[in-house]
Amino acid sequence: MVIDSPSAQLPAPLPALALLSALQEVRDGILVYHANQEVVRISPQAARLLGAGPEIPRRLEDLFGGCAEADGAKEVLAYLNSERAPEAERILALPPGGQVVRLHWRELDGDYRIAFVDPVDSAQDRDFLTNIATRRSFESQLKGILAAGGRSVAVLLVDLDRFKAVNDELGHAMGDTLLKRVAERMRSAVRTTDVVARFGGDEFAILLDGVEDASVLSGTASRVIDRLRRPFLIEGRLISVGASIGIATALSNAGGSNASDSHVILQSADLALYESKSAGGNCFRLYDPRMRAEAEARRNGELDLRRALAARQFELHFQPQVDLEGRLRWFEALIRWRHPERGLIPPLDFLPLAERFGLMGSIGEWVLRTACQEAAQWPSAIGVAVNATTAQITDPQFPAIVRRALKLSGLAPSRLEIEVTEGSLMANPEAGRANLEELQAIGVQFAIDDFGTGYASLSQLVGLPFDKVKIDRCLSGSEGDSPKKRALIRAITELSKQLGMASLVEGVENAEQIERLMQDGCEMLQGYYIGRPAPAEEVRRFVHDLEEAAPIFDEKGSAA
């Protein structure tokens, strides 16, 4: 009996070349080449994907020599000729005449290598603008690495600083060119095997596979930041942006990882990115569990604020402004938050949060409407002053919002004064000015607030048509009798007078101050000595007792 052993019929070991004739038959994209760069055999599918003609190219460079930019020919060839092929390493290539493929090689006997050529659905895996990986492709590669297990992986989320400003100022075409250059610079700052992706807008990400050493991580992050902060020359213009980076790492353990890991690592990197942005940009932060707790607290704060708006926990208090005859002229509306557990919260403790969560628009609109409604119930000689934030004053919708508040309340526009700070107008002078002029045309008054704390730019006073200048308490306060400060106050009041603006001093706390401020040319006063902010009902009662707006302090300056 003869037993035909299958192994007896096959030469052992199987020479790589014996496989080759079979390649004509397979459906896969397979390329066999020799370590000396010679193409040995190519399957029909690979030839099609790589755009090879009927004549089979002799060398690798004939196939990949003209690869498109993002993973240039050099990088693809370097990958195919690298010493070893670690398990998960792949490279994307766009050969001339071919389509986007993912390459992945393995060693065969006798210095032969086999490369698997897989088509990539370019519309979804390649960013149309920068030609680097998309978020989808990034995530699938991250999942692949995590699933393979045993390696540490790092995700760097990269966000450009000031990109929006560039886009707004120089137009989308230049913005797009900038994004392309950014992608190229990022590629130049990492290893060829690292994945660089664009998640959308000016958000990019880098996937570092197998980073064992923290110094490699910080080295890469610093290199990316350095490359991106170097100026770009586009159409003859120098453009400077910067980058913020958030980093999260994970050690993938075979069996221990699941599909949600990629989601968690991206989320962690995003929290770290938030920190580097808050730190002013141009820096990187490594994820720390503390960040998750802080984000949680922020989210609670946000929910709390949203609830406050819905449950009408905000209220307005009003602080009087008087002229030198002691006549009550205006009340400044000041927001307070009556928190069910924390009591009355001053604006500085919650408005910055509201601004960050994008709630300022709704809160600001509520303040305007409520203030106008309240003032409509006062004698007609008394107006209401409302603070507007940067976001409000530069919002193209702002004039419409103000007009609506006036219409709903029936308040005469001349009894509404809008206070803006110097800084908020500097942020976007054109938008701010347009809004200001539009509202002034219907009679709304404008005051420049906290003058003297920021730039105290006198030219700002000349340049914009304000009705009133509010001189900050830092100039008038208890140490306000220093000759320097008094000289500054005199300069401001004198200039205001000549420009037809009233001047008001904030932070008036005693009678001596009033005396001094009168000498220095101030026309209006506000402060604890004149009157503290009071709730709406109290103010309503007060003004009704006071039908004729009688003086609330006598001519010597002491309170009546």
Binding site: R185, D226, R227, F232, L233, I234, E235, G236
Partner: protein, 157 residues
């Protein structure tokens, strides 16, 4: 035919090449070699100054080519802390005959002047820009077609 508008860009940066004078010399040779090769092909001319760990480079030529060359330089890891000190259209080239002239100060007086100029550029002084441009012009013109010498490197490293 109207020749294309010429542009000039001038920047300073700090050396990031690690190693002793020999390695730096070797890298500088590479930089100059590839600059000269690529620049003459692209109609770019200019000059490179190396001194005390800092570079100053002038590039001049048609805008599209200049952008290509500048972008490649910006991705180069052999330097860092890039400060562009001048950028704009020019009427004529400063170094028409040089695909990339090289200057490293040879005498102590030059070194002191160049060091001072670099210092004021990195500290943001406008005065430093002119100072450096003048020096660069002067050094390249005065020294003529001189090659990279070990002597010069010893002084400038």
């Amino acid at each position: 035919m109207i020749p294309p508008q010429l542009y000039r860009i001038v920047y300073c940066s700090r050396n990031a090449i690690t190693g002793g004078p020999a390695q730096i010399e070797e890298e500088l040779e590479h930089i100059l070699d590839s600059a000269r090769r690529n620049n003459s092909r692209r109609g770019i001319t200019g000059a490179l100054l190396y001194n005390g760990g800092s570079f100053a480079q002038i590039l001049e030529g048609p805008l599209d080519k200049l952008e290509l060359v500048f972008e490649a330089i910006q991705s180069d890891e052999r330097h860092e802390d890039v400060n562009v000190i001048e950028n704009g259209p020019i009427a004529a080239r400063m170094f028409p005959n040089w695909s990339m002239a090289f200057a490293a100060s040879r005498c102590p007086a030059d070194t002191a002047q160049v060091t001072e100029a670099f210092h004021s550029v990195f500290s943001g002084s406008i005065h430093g820009t002119n100072q450096l441009l003048n020096l660069l012009n002067q050094l390249v013109v005065e020294e003529g077609a001189w090659a990279l010498t070990e002597d010069a490197l010893e002084q400038s490293v």
